[in-house]
Each structure stands twice: as structure tokens, then as C-alpha cells.
Amino acid sequence: MVSGEFTRDEMMTVATGRFIHDGWKAFIGTGLPMVAAYLAKATHAPNMTLMFESGVLAAEPRTIARAVGDPRLQSTARRVSGMLDGLLLLHGGNVDFGVLGGAQVDRFGNINSTAVGGEGYSRPATRLGGSGGANDIASAAKEFLIVVRHTRRTFVERVDHLTTPGYLTGPGAREAAGLHGRGPIGVVTDLGVFGFDATTKRMNATSLHEGITWADVEAATGFDIDRPDDLPTTPPPSEHELHLLRTVIDPNGVYLKGGPQ
């Protein structure tokens, strides 16, 4: 298999995993981030600690967990408590990293996972699940990563509801709000990898996935996204990474449907 044969989901998963450093304690949710965490742990970050908002600490499941509530996270964890304990460990500054999704993201990495459209919060066109631990992770984890599919509906000028704080209104706003976490360090989408300018806190592009053009990004983004002079291609998944994803981590396609498209 040549490394070019991979799905967009596989590219997103691998790109997400690369943000995880060895030794980190990380809050992970279900979906692609779960697969990415397994992959990171199986490759460059064997000593990362998986934590979940339910109070599950240092889980080492043999097979892919279907959900945060999956029994195999509890039956292989070093410690199982409850939500207050799990989230207060986070609040206490003990979590390095979290991965978050959402229905809308703006240029400052603010996320909406509560209510879209309509007359606003009290009478939205679409009500979603709400924050859960996401606001806590974005506020208190040392840093966090956003992972979403890239569409104009998702990448909006202004989130309809600010569930989860990115850089809020820009430079200094997190500090003014009293947040102790540094904020979002990147965005992984099916089009590329994005970051935030150190000074302006505006979203900029880090790399585009193979076959993606800047025009693709612009077409799928509802705000002006900063393009650097140098815009490399995201390193594709290695053969080893694809092998792990397809035959070891998620062989039954719980999250990653199908092989190469």
C-alpha cells in the first residue's frame, strides 16, 4: 500500500494524534479523537495518560472504546471515581491536553455545541447536547485541540452560542476572563491543520492535506482565515500508522469507516 491511499478520516486521525506529546495527561472523547489517542499511545506517546470526565483515570483498553461510558475504559483503568473528582483534577491544573469538537467554530477557536440558529439560545433552530466537560477542558486544560469537519456551516464568523472558550474576543481576553488554560493550539479538519497566531490569536493555516487547495479552504470557511507565505502539505499517514488504524486499533470500523476511498 502506498501512503497516498488513505481516507480523509484517517488523515484527520493521524494529524490529531501528532498533537499528543508523550507523557501527557489528556481528556479524550469518543469518535476520531479516541482513535487518535490510541494511535498516539501505540506510536510516539506510549506514556500518555487517558482521562475521562466520568472519573476514569489511566485507562488502557485493549480494543477501541465505543463511548466515554464504555465498560472497557473502567475495567482497565488505574483509578475509577466520578465526574466531580475527574473534573476537579482537571480544574486543579493536572491535565495537559484535551480534544474537542463542535457544531460551530469561529476564528478565535470559540466553539458552539449548544444551540444553532433560530431566535438564539432560548429558541434555537437546532438544540444540541450542550457543553458537558468541553467548557471545563477548554478553560482548565493546559491546552486543547479542535477537531471538526470543515464546512462553511461549521467555520463561522461568529458562533451562535459560545459554549466553549477559545481565545474569546482575541488577545488578552482569556486572561481577562480568568481562565487558567492557555487555549486552543490547533484545529484539525478534513482539509488541513490550522493554528492560532501568537499575537492576534486569529486562526491561520499550518498545512493542507494532500490534494487540498487554498480555494477549498476558503470555500469552506465563513471567515477570513490567515494564509501564511509557506503552506506545506500535511505529512500523510505512514504505512505503519495506517496498518495500526486498520488492523489493530479500529479493524471493525467503529469510527473509521472503510479503507482507502
Binding site: 465498560p71 465526574m83 429558541r123 466537560g133
Partner: protein, 311 residues
């Protein structure tokens, strides 16, 4: 004779326990994901017809969804309600989108700490999350949830949460003695805060055990009996959800509701068939059938039912 006192037993029937919940009460339920929800209680509560409830709902997606689907809920203080692996809690979402119910959103930690503050009799509880987001800025509850005050030990303006006390908390446990000293195997969600915060506590239990069994595992007792008002014996009380260490969730049955929730008509038919059309929990379990119930039983090492794969 047992050397342990059994006191005045708190054990009552499911019907008697549900009957103590008043119309218009504020309620909080145990459970997380597809596990540990006191669903046999919720079904009985629905059958008894009361409503007008306010929910303090951290993670009890199934109780909140079923009660809302039946039109029994006016307001939800929530942090996250969705079905893991499925999607949105559609009856709740529809009720919000149509303006039938009101909500007030929190982070998981924020709502959990409000319950904890009530349980600890604290006038407020500091929090550093929720700050700067619409969880701080939008407050729609009858009472304020989040305010800023000056820290007397630094020059910070810090967020503090108000306490939140449900009238009744209902939690499902793996085993309990007749005083309500309850053990939950696996993660406890926010049950520790709920039972402390609530004015009344109802425990439903997979097994009622002798005091000796509780004493032998006394470091695992999440629910202190002194906080409990009533205890109900309810095997498979979390079904079709799972109970860690005992049985896995029945995704097919859960999906059955999830599909029905796509329309008001279908959800009404679901409730009529699976709740109002059945006299009690025994009839519900009969309907499921013992073979199906046994298929959900997990092995005691992997804690997974047959066919659920490896660890």
C-alpha cells in the same frame, strides 16, 4: 443472628417510592452515558402521571429524555444531554426548539459543583471554568447560577456558583442494605453530589444485601445510608441501559427508542407500548424476556457481555 442492626427498614415498593414525588418537583437522577440510570423508577413515575418537573440533569440523558418526551418537564438545568454513539436527545431538543421547555446551561463541573455546594451547605462555590463563555453570560434559570466576586486573598474577580438542591434525587446502585448504604460498581457519575444535595433521596438497587456485605466493602459505599429516605429493590433497574459489572446496555432496544424519537407521533407510540402499556417493572422485564436479559450479562473479568469484543 447478625451482629449488625437492621434498624427500621427503608425498603418500599417502586410504586410507593414514586408516589412520594410531588407534582412540580425538582429532580436529579443518577447515571452516565448508557449506564446506571434508574429507568425502572422513571417508567413508574411516568405511569403515575405526575409532571411539571424541573430537572437538574448533569448526565442522566435517558431519564431526562423520557420524562420530556412524555411532556412532564418544564425546565432543565443541564450540562450535557445526548446519547453517546447515537446522537441528540430529540424529544428534549424538539421541546427547546419549540419553546415548550426552558433550559439553563452549565459545564459538567459547574452543575456538579452547584449540587455539591447545596450538599455541603455552602453559600456558593468558586469555579474557574464557565468564565468568559455564554455559560457565564446567559442565565435563564429562576435563580442566578454564576456571579463574579472579588477574591479576598488576591486581586482576582472570580466566578462563584449558587447552590442547587433538587427536591428528590433518584439513584440506581449495584447493591444496598435496607438502610440505603449503596455501592455503585464503576464510575459514580455525580451521585455523590446528588444524594448530598437533595432534600429526599430514593435508592433503587439491583440487589438488597445483608449489612455484612456492605460492611465488608465499606470503602466502596458511595451512598451514605443516613442520607437515604427510601430503598427499592429493582433488578435490571437500569435496563435497557447497562449496569457496570452486571449487564451491558441493550443497544438495539435503545436504538428502538432513538428511531422513535424522530417524530412526536412515533415517540408517543413508543411510550404507550413500552411504558404506559405495561403495569410495572416485572411486566417490562417479561416483555424483554429472560433470554435477552441473560444475553446482556457481563463476564466478571472483562465486564462485557458476549459478543462485545475484547477489552
Amino acid at each position: 443472628m447478625s451482629p449488625y442492626s437492621t434498624g427500621t427498614s427503608k425498603i418500599v415498593s417502586m410504586a410507593d417510592a414514586a408516589a412520594t414525588v410531588p407534582e412540580g418537583a425538582s429532580l436529579s437522577f443518577g447515571g452516565f452515558g448508557h449506564f446506571g440510570h434508574p429507568l425502572s423508577f422513571v417508567r413508574e413515575l411516568l405511569r403515575q402521571g405526575k409532571g411539571g418537573f424541573t430537572l437538574h440533569a448533569v448526565a442522566e440523558c435517558w431519564p431526562a429524555e423520557l420524562l420530556t418526551a412524555a411532556g412532564r418537564v418544564n425546565h432543565i438545568n443541564l450540562s450535557n444531554l445526548m446519547f453517546e454513539g447515537l446522537g441528540r436527545v430529540r424529544a428534549i431538543c424538539r421541546a427547546v426548539e419549540n419553546g415548550w421547555i426552558t433550559t439553563d446551561d452549565h459545564s459538567h463541573l459547574g452543575l456538579s459543583l452547584r449540587l455539591l455546594a447545596a450538599g455541603w451547605d455552602m453559600p456558593f462555590m468558586p469555579i474557574r471554568t464557565m468564565a468568559g463563555s455564554d455559560l457565564e453570560h446567559i442565565q435563564t434559570g429562576p435563580a442566578p447560577k454564576f456571579r463574579r466576586i472579588a477574591s479576598p486573598f488576591s486581586d482576582e474577580q472570580v466566578g462563584v456558583l449558587s447552590p442547587l438542591s433538587p427536591d428528590v434525587a433518584v439513584v440506581h446502585v449495584s447493591e444496598s442494605d435496607n438502610q440505603g448504604n449503596g455501592i455503585i460498581r464503576g464510575q459514580i457519575s455525580v451521585v455523590d453530589a446528588q444524594v448530598r444535595a437533595a432534600k429526599r433521596v430514593i435508592v433503587t438497587a439491583e440487589r438488597i444485601v445483608e449489612p455484612e456485605e456492605i460492611v465488608r466493602n465499606n470503602q466502596l459505599v458511595t451512598v451514605p445510608g443516613i442520607l437515604v429516605d427510601q430503598v427499592v429493590h429493582s433488578p435490571y433497574g437500569a435496563y435497557p441501559g447497562g449496569m457496570y459489572g452486571l449487564y451491558d446496555e441493550d443497544m438495539e432496544l435503545m436504538d428502538h427508542y432513538y428511531e422513535a424519537s424522530r417524530s412526536e407521533e412515533a415517540v408517543a407510540a413508543y411510550l404507550a407500548e413500552w411504558i404506559f402499556g405495561l403495569a410495572d417493572h416485572a411486566e417490562y422485564l417479561d416483555r424483554i424476556g429472560s433470554q435477552r436479559l441473560l444475553e446482556a450479562v457481563v463476564d466478571p473479568v472483562h465486564m462485557l457481555a458476549r459478543g462485545r469484543g475484547e477489552w
